[in-house]
């Protein structure tokens, strides 16, 4: 769709340059004249926002690296020094740590947008797969970045994640040793994570270039999921989408700035402000919010290898998604069933995220109370029975002890306590995990075969400008 170039060098210098390095032509054809569907909505502004977020992370990261000390004795203090003593260090550090969250917020919206409008379907499979590669690299980068401040969550996060690999039969333990560079998370680990944390964003940058290249071959998909058929369906990227993107970015930066200036630590975990201690695990280890759904999937499976496979599988299915969805209709606007499946999927991902932040044994739903019956000898010598109940098992235990103290331990026989029906966080996570995989592996393949799609418009122009005559005139 890129079509023949419309670049006209404006000056003698530009003509001279164009014959030697046609970089202005490339920029002009890709970002100014590029014919873009006329119906893109604000969900389509997140690609630009993501490019912006990547640049922000790279620039602030390079600055942080000028002051950061990558050693277990110096790391924690150096980050504190950046926040307190280095001129504007607080600003740069806050932008970088909040930036990671904003980056993920944007990428999740961007991915769900692609899912809803069927942007992964032919001819955009490679575009989608490159996106999933970027997402994987982002997770690796963010994970290693989170280790660098060397707080308690840094240390134990690194320990837990590298231990995931030890679940692999036979080669698991050697791989873990190789990743850590020792028997435990230590200086060697911190040093290599710093080196890789510096490298990966540039690899992301490289894949982003491929991603945009793969986008510019078939051109943008759009909310209708209808192919561009004539110039009437498109507008030039500039000024239409440069302005729309800029406006969306400004709104995004407002949110970004609100966090940076008013709540820079609200997205992190307070335990990471305690220096790393290999002898004490924090009461609960939680990853950053953007990884919580995967953490919930990991914990949903009560088997080490199974949990690890499910977690990696949850990203693995995204790679084969283009071949799982059998429907010919791209946009879920015209798919009455898939659309609700999608809405539920978003809800399930949010709920998984919630589960990932809770203790696995916590009850989400409970019908009734814990009950314990007992027998005791009264002052008169007769045998009597009694019962106590409580909302939680800890509370029941406390009451039982109180009862024992009141009546006298020698005079009382406690029966086994009876637990009420409960749904725990693990069980909820299991149900949600089932839907997560079911959505990709069953729902999308089957729905495409049985669903009766709504009427898809013939062209974008027709749908956008209610009558075709107007479309003709404006073209």
């Amino acid at each position: 769709m890129s079509g023949p170039s419309t670049y006209v060098p404006g000056s003698a210098f530009e003509r001279w340059l164009d014959q030697r390095l046609p970089i202005m032509r490339l920029a002009h054809d890709s970002f100014l004249a590029f014919p873009t569907p006329r119906n893109l909505n604000y969900w389509y502004t997140f690609g630009g926002i993501l490019s912006f977020a990547l640049v922000v992370q790279i620039v602030t990261g390079i600055v942080l690296a000028m002051h950061y000390v990558p050693s277990i004795s110096g790391a924690f203090a150096s980050v504190q020094r950046i926040e307190r003593d280095v001129p504007f260090g607080w600003l740069v550090q806050n932008i970088h740590s909040v930036g990671a969250s904003m980056f993920f917020l944007a990428v999740y919206i961007h991915m769900l947008r692609g899912l809803y409008y069927g942007s992964y379907k032919a001819p955009r499979e490679i575009l989608w797969i490159l996106g999933v590669v970027i997402y994987l690299l982002m997770m690796a980068t963010a994970f290693m970045g989170y280790v660098l401040p060397w707080g308690q969550m840094s240390f134990w996060g690194a320990t837990v994640i590298t231990n995931l690999f030890s679940a692999i039969p036979v080669v698991g333990d050697p791989i873990k040793l190789w990743l850590l560079g020792g028997f435990a998370t230590d200086n060697a680990t911190l040093n290599r994570f710093f080196s890789l944390h510096y490298l990966l964003p540039f690899m992301i940058f490289g894949v982003v270039v491929l991603h945009i290249w793969a986008l510019h071959v078939p051109g943008n998909n759009n909310p209708l999921g209808v192919d561009v058929k004539s110039p009437a369906d498109t507008v030039p990227f500039h000024p239409y989408y440069t302005v729309k993107d800029a406006f969306a970015m400004a709104v995004f930066v407002l949110l970004f700035a609100a966090f940076v200036f008013y709540a820079p630590d609200s997205l992190g975990h307070p335990d990471n402000l305690i220096p790393a201690n290999p002898l004490v695990t924090p009461a609960e280890i939680v990853p950053e919010w953007y990884l919580l759904p995967f953490y919930a999937i990991l914990r949903a499976i009560p088997d080490k290898l199974g949990g690890v496979l499910a977690m990696f599988g949850s990203i693995g299915v995204l790679f084969i998604l283009p071949w799982l969805d059998t429907s010919k209709v791209r946009s879920m606007r015209f798919r009455p069933l898939a659309r609700w499946g999608f809405v539920l999927f978003v809800g399930v991902c949010l709920a998984l995220g919630w589960c990932g932040g809770q203790l696995p044994d916590k009850a989400v739903y409970q019908s009734g109370r814990y009950v314990q019956t007992f027998e005791y000898r009264t002052a008169a010598g007769a045998i009597a029975t009694g019962a106590i109940s409580a909302r939680t098992s800890a509370e029941l235990e406390r009451r039982a002890h109180a009862e024992e103290a009141r009546i006298g331990a020698a005079m009382i026989t406690m029966h086994a306590s009876v637990a009420p029906f409960q749904i725990k966080v693990v069980q909820l996570s299991q149900m949600l995990t089932l839907y997560y995989f079911g959505f990709f592996l069953l729902l999308l393949p089957i729905l495409g075969l049985i669903e009766r799609p709504g009427r898809v418009p013939d062209t974008i122009a027709k749908a956008v400008l209610k009558d075709a005559a107007t479309a003709e005139r404006s073209a």
């Binding site: 134990w156 320990t159 837990v160 590298t162 231990n163 995931l164 040793l177 190789w178 990743l179 850590l180 560079g181 020792g182 028997f183 435990a184 998370t185 230590d186 060697a188 290599r192 290999p278 002898l279 004490v280 695990t281 924090p282 009461a283 609960e284 280890i285 990991l298 914990r299 499976i301 009560p302 088997d303 080490k304 290898l305 949990g307 203790l359 696995p360 044994d361 693990v426």
Partner: protein, 191 residues
């Protein structure tokens, strides 16, 4: 490359019946290059493995006097925590009672195996020396928090008994023994 040269070349490759000397040179060169790449890649990969000083098995000597009955001390060995637990008679009794269930445990072991010294000698019942990393994903479990009188791992909910055997939760194995020997009645050496 001119068209005719390209054609000749294509024929040379295409005639499968008669491999030419050039085919042989191509294959031999590629094979040599592949070996060369592998030879360079290996050092670049292997450098990430534990260095010689890390591997040099550090050993630690610990006096047991300071650890009172019912208490445990956590020491670092090879950068990882090790529990030295001074077990009470109740803990020992609990562990021995559950020996009868050991066959049905995930990682069957008798209490006597759990306290064995690195040189194969029997240990002492009141001293349990275990690597403190949960065999699930490596957190440090806490004592007296689980359902089996022993350790509980807060990370994903693994319960260990008073011999450090896994009884419930995602961990696949018992807490690993730390290789230790008694140097005297009150001093042990780990590693």
């Amino acid at each position: 490359m001119t068209e005719s040269a390209a054609n000749t070349h294509a024929e040379g490759i295409g005639s499968a019946a008669e491999p030419t000397r050039r085919d042989f040179i191509f294959i031999a060169t590629s094979a040599t290059a592949a070996v060369g790449v592998a030879a360079v890649a290996w050092p670049l990969i292997d450098q990430m493995n534990p260095a010689a000083d890390t591997l040099a098995l550090a050993s630690t000597e610990i006096g047991l006097d300071a650890i009172e009955l019912g208490q445990e001390s956590t020491v670092l060995w090879r950068g990882k925590p090790v529990f030295i637990r001074h077990r009470t008679p109740e803990e020992i009794a609990l562990a021995k009672r559950d020996d009868s269930l050991s066959a049905s445990m995930r990682d069957p072991a008798l209490d006597a195996d759990r306290i064995r010294q690195a040189n194969g000698d029997a240990g002492k019942e009141e001293w349990l020396v275990l690597q403190a990393s949960c065999t699930h994903l490596g957190c440090v479990p806490t004592f007296a928090a689980g359902d089996y009188g022993g350790w509980f791992c807060p990370c994903h909910g693994s319960h260990y008994d008073t011999a450090g055997r896994i009884r419930r939760g995602p961990a696949p194995l018992n807490l690993l023994l730390a290789p230790y020997v008694f140097l005297s009645d009150t001093v042990i050496k780990i590693g």
